[in-house]
Structures are given as structure tokens and as C-alpha cells.
Symmetry: C3
Subunit: 264 residues, 3 copies
Amino acid sequence: MLNKENLKRDLALVREKSPLVHNITNYVAMNFSANALLAVGASPVMAHAADEVAAMAGIAGALVINIGTLDAEWVESMIIAGKSKSSAGGVVVLDPVGAGATSYRTEVAWRIIEDCHPTIIRGNASEIMALVSADVKSKGVDSSCSSDAAVDSATMLAKRTGAVVVVSGEVDYVTDGERVETLRNGSPMMPLVTAMGCTASSMVGAFAAINSDAFEASLHAMALMGVAGEVAAKGVAGPGSLLTAFVDTLYNITGDELADIVRQ
Amino acid sequence: MLNKENLKRDLALVREKSPLVHNITNYVAMNFSANALLAVGASPVMAHAADEVAAMAGIAGALVINIGTLDAEWVESMIIAGKSKSSAGGVVVLDPVGAGATSYRTEVAWRIIEDCHPTIIRGNASEIMALVSADVKSKGVDSSCSSDAAVDSATMLAKRTGAVVVVSGEVDYVTDGERVETLRNGSPMMPLVTAMGCTASSMVGAFAAINSDAFEASLHAMALMGVAGEVAAKGVAGPGSLLTAFVDTLYNITGDELADIVRQ
Amino acid sequence: MLNKENLKRDLALVREKSPLVHNITNYVAMNFSANALLAVGASPVMAHAADEVAAMAGIAGALVINIGTLDAEWVESMIIAGKSKSSAGGVVVLDPVGAGATSYRTEVAWRIIEDCHPTIIRGNASEIMALVSADVKSKGVDSSCSSDAAVDSATMLAKRTGAVVVVSGEVDYVTDGERVETLRNGSPMMPLVTAMGCTASSMVGAFAAINSDAFEASLHAMALMGVAGEVAAKGVAGPGSLLTAFVDTLYNITGDELADIVRQ
């Protein structure tokens, strides 16, 4: 079970230490993810040049690799950065956006897993299932099935890779291959804000930068995402307003509110 | 004339079928266009890698090619995706952003037209006129003339290319070279939200994915854009709020409201 | 001291002339900067293709080069555009995002300075100091020190390069190497909106496009940024709302309000 005191401690630590989170992420997510990280107190940087990714990853508390708008050159930079970060013992988060939608994405995701040994992998149900079974097809970047269906795949993926695996959806699952924790906050409107999942991966990076227990850090980051989405969705007129309210909520939420509202 | 029952049917179909819309679009538009598509019920994906664009276009209901922040590599991906999609009989929408601003943009737009045979071309007045007459110069990506001035060019372009051509502006025009339909909704504040035109092109893709009559689909998508912009603009404090309210309106608007408010 | 009548005149001129501002800027900033420029009355264009940057810069009132998400190919385009613009006597604004965070960024910033002779350089304290002293390290793209600490560096940089140098922070400084002007508006929440600094650089471009006195233009643009941020921050719930309110304020603010609220 999630330890509420530790959850509050980690939110306070993110705000106090303002960890630098190096994102090699997609064009759709960059602005929203940066604003979410700033709102919670972290310090985002986006950098993808092969000439500097190792240096930038080196000064960051976590590296987040997101393949949402990948291409051959960016993949090379992701690999350079990821290898450098993991070989130095640092935190690497992988978001395998659209794995299963095209074979290229599935292959690139696996190449990153094998070369960069991510600490944490976070995806939606289709993506996590597609990494484990070649039979699963994603519809673009949106999940075509519920997160419940992906728990077994997540456990297998965690065992096979040594990564903590997070499946986000109506229920979020966090597993290290042995333990499985659930989180039951959020709002049905959250998937209608583009890059909400990508932002969750960046948030996982921020928490893993200040808590060396990757399992607990992932759980805490996903708790914050779900609670902030749930709080923000109250009374908003639609997903446009939710985007704004979500960032405001990350800025305003207290540790006590977070601990009170989180449900497992 | 626009058939209001068909308009309502198409809005319902987009929400029901949630068509996958593959966008190869510009960096400025990506987030807003994705949020607008999600809000209306479609499923956006942004993907530009030469290694996967044909596969991604193949599983999508429509491909939207937008040259707003083009470069040589992206153009090659646009051509690969567009050729693949059109040769399979699929829907290709072209947004020739900034045609006429530089000769490079005009040339690339024509290359895409000739290689990919777009089903629908949507632009502002300057862009559509620049595609027909080399004498027309655009000021960057904003139109320097009213949409009325572009009706003849739009008709000529439609006849020459076989595409449905949409000119957006204070009055929107939709033509297949024979018929010309008008739409008279919207707000003067809409052009102050960047990528509103790009988002219109993506919306056209969503409707063309569920209605094989490209002329009617274009008319319906533009009707929704104009009505949503007009509704959203009521009472907002400025273009920042309009962006948010526009996305919320796409999410909330009913078919009856849309049919009531649309004006030709 | 800032001349309030000239400040009002320049805001009116931006709205009247709607200068085309050509941005080669980072992926995080593009949407927000475009919306801010549109809201104030300018006409933004984002274009980075080597095939067209000289042509696009040639028709623009100002070129803004921002290295936030640089890579080797984009840097070549920045240099082509900047050389072309400055050799024709045009306005070039440089935003050396993240200078000091990696040596690559510092080197690229200097290469642009030497090749393109920027009219104006705008950065945060860490960035400006890092350009002058190799000992200064930035933490990603956020400043690690107050703007006061960078005044000497700014003056040295202005003398060495011939550019007007702007340091933004709690107090903004504008210097041409001899004169130093301060601006004391803003809100502590402004740095929590990503790309606020990048947008300031684009705003400087808009004002420098209509006022050939680069020192005064920079002062006026930064006055508008600080005042709009301060006005917008009143009563907002957090940085998500601030982004929206900031754009709305740029759209609504009058010259008289601007002149009344500005503090030096």
C-alpha cells in the first residue's frame, strides 16, 4: 500500500529540490509537460541534439525518453542519452508512445529498452501489451483496451526488463514484477487532453529524481497525476479548461490534500 | 445548400466512430489540433518518420498534410505518406500553409498536389490564390486579403486538381469546381488564435474519414469550426481564453445547436 | 528613463503595422510565442528550412533566433537566416536559451553572435553570465541566479558584441554597454509559465521591427511583457491560468494602462 507520509514527503521534496528533468519527448507534449513540471516545482529541459544529450542528461536528475514523434535522428539521440544516463546509474524513464500502432514504434521501443535499460516504463494498456505480444495492435496513440487487461503484460514486462512498469488508464497499475499497486483517481476527461500520458511520464521522472526507490516514486507521481486530474476536472466546462485547471492544481495542491484524496 | 440532418449525422458519426486522423503537421499546431480533434471525439496521431508514415497513414481514416514548418526531410515523409494514402484510395487533406510567402512553399505545395492528389485542399485566401497565380504574395502565414477575393482561384484550383477546395476567412467557401457553398459563422478573434486554420484542416480530415462525400464532409467540418468559434468567442476576454473555450465548445456542442446556429 | 509617450506610440505602431516576425525558435515556445505575438497585433511566422529561411527573413520586420531546442541542422538554418538578415541591415534578436547548461549551447550561441551580429541579445541571468564567463553553469534553461548579478556581464557583452543586451528576471535590465535601464514589473509566477522568456525575445523582435532604436524597442517590449504579466497574474489560480490571462492581457491592454503601470 501507498504510504501517505512518504507521498507527502516526496511532493515536498520535488518542490524543495526542483529536480532538473531532461525530456527527449514529442512535439505535441513539450509545452504541456514543461508547464506541468514547472507547476509542481520541477525544472524541465527539452534537448535532443546528439551533440549535447549526454551532457544534458548528465546534469539532470532524470532522463525521460518519449517516442511520440520519433524519427531516425531523434532515436539515435535517445539512445545516446539513455545509454549515457543508465551507465552512470541514473534514472531513465521510457514512454513507448504508440507501440503496437506501427512495427517501427514497437521495434524502437525495444531497442531503447535493450540499449538503455530504463528504470521505469510508463504507457497505456495497448502500448504495454504490444511490447509483450506482437499480436496487440494500438489505434494510433490512444489505448484500445482497459488498463485491467494489461496487468499481466505489465508484470511480464517488468520481470523481463527489470524496470518498474506503469500502466495508466481508468485504474493505474504500478508493478515491479512482484508487487502490483493500483491507483483509482482521475477523470474520464483526462484522456481528452492530449499528452496527459506523456506528462505522467515526465512527472514520474521528477519523482524518481528525488526518490531512489523507483517503485515508490512511480506510485507517488501517478497518485499526483490522478488526484490533480480529478480535482481539476470538478466543474470544468471541457477538456480545454481541464488542461489549464490541471496545471493550476499541480501548483496549488498541498501534501495533505493529495494524501486525503488518493484512492487505491 | 447544407443539409442540416446530414450535418448532425456527421457530428454524431465522428463521435461514434472516433476516426484516427494522421497528421503530418507543423510544430505550432500540433498540440492545439490534437486537443481539438480529441474534444470533438476523433483520435489524432502525429507521426512523420519516413520509416512509419505509410504504415500509420494506412491505419488512419484520413491523412492531413500541413506544410507550416516544412523542411526537406519532412517533405519527403509527406510525399511518402500522401502517395501511399491516395494510391490506396484514402483521404488526403493538404493545408498549403504560407504558399506565396516563399517560392519554396509554393513549389512544395504543388509537388504534394501532383504526387499525392489530395482529396481536399484547405487554405486562407492568400494561400489559395498563390497556388493559382505566381503574382500573389502572402505575408508569412496570415492572409493579406479577404476570402471573397479567392473564390475564382479556388474554383480554378478545384477544376485543375480534382480536389475539393476550402477557403477560410470571414466567409468560408467550399467548392468542387462546379458548386460553391458559403459558411458565414465565426468570430473576428479566431485568426488571433494561432493554428486555427491548421486545426480546421485536421477537422476536415476527421469528417472526411466518416463521410466519403468530400464536398459535404468539408462543408460540415467548416460549419463546426465556424459555429464553435462563434459560440466560444461569446464573452471571452481575449484570444487566450478563446483557445480554451473553443476546445470546450467542440466537446459540448450538440448536433441541434450546430444545426441551429450554422449560417450560409 | 523610459519615455511613456514613446512607449504608447510603439504599442500603437505594433498594432497598426502588424510586423511580420520570423521566429526560428524552439518547439516548446512556438505555440505560446505565436499566440502572444498575434494577441499584441504582430504577425508571427515560424520557418526553419534551409531552403527558405533567407527568403522568409527577407520579408520579415525582424528575425528571432532562439536555440532552446537546437540541433546541428537547425543551427545551420539559424546561421543562414541570421547572416542574410544582418547583412541586409535587418533586425536579428538572439535568445541563447540554456547557454552555460552545456558547452554545446554556449558555443552555438557564440557562433551565432559572431556570424550574425545580433541587434539584440535577450536571456536570463545565467545565460548572459555564461556567455561572458566560462565558469558560469546554468541549470538547464532556468536561471540559477538573480538578474542583478548579471548586470556587469550584460554590459560587457553589449560592449563586446555591439548588441543591446536584455537580462530578464525579477528586475529586467536593458543595456547598450553604456546606458542601463531597469524595469520592475512582473510576477513571481511568470517563470512558471514555460517559454515566457522566449516569448519576451519574440516580443522584442516585434517592437524592434517598428522602432529602429533597438535600445528603446527592447525597453518597450520588456515593459509590455512585465506589465502584462503583472496585470494577468492578479487573481489567477496558478500558472495554467496565467498563460491564458497573459495572452488576453496583451490583446486588451491600452497604451495608457501600460504607461500607468510600468515601473522603473
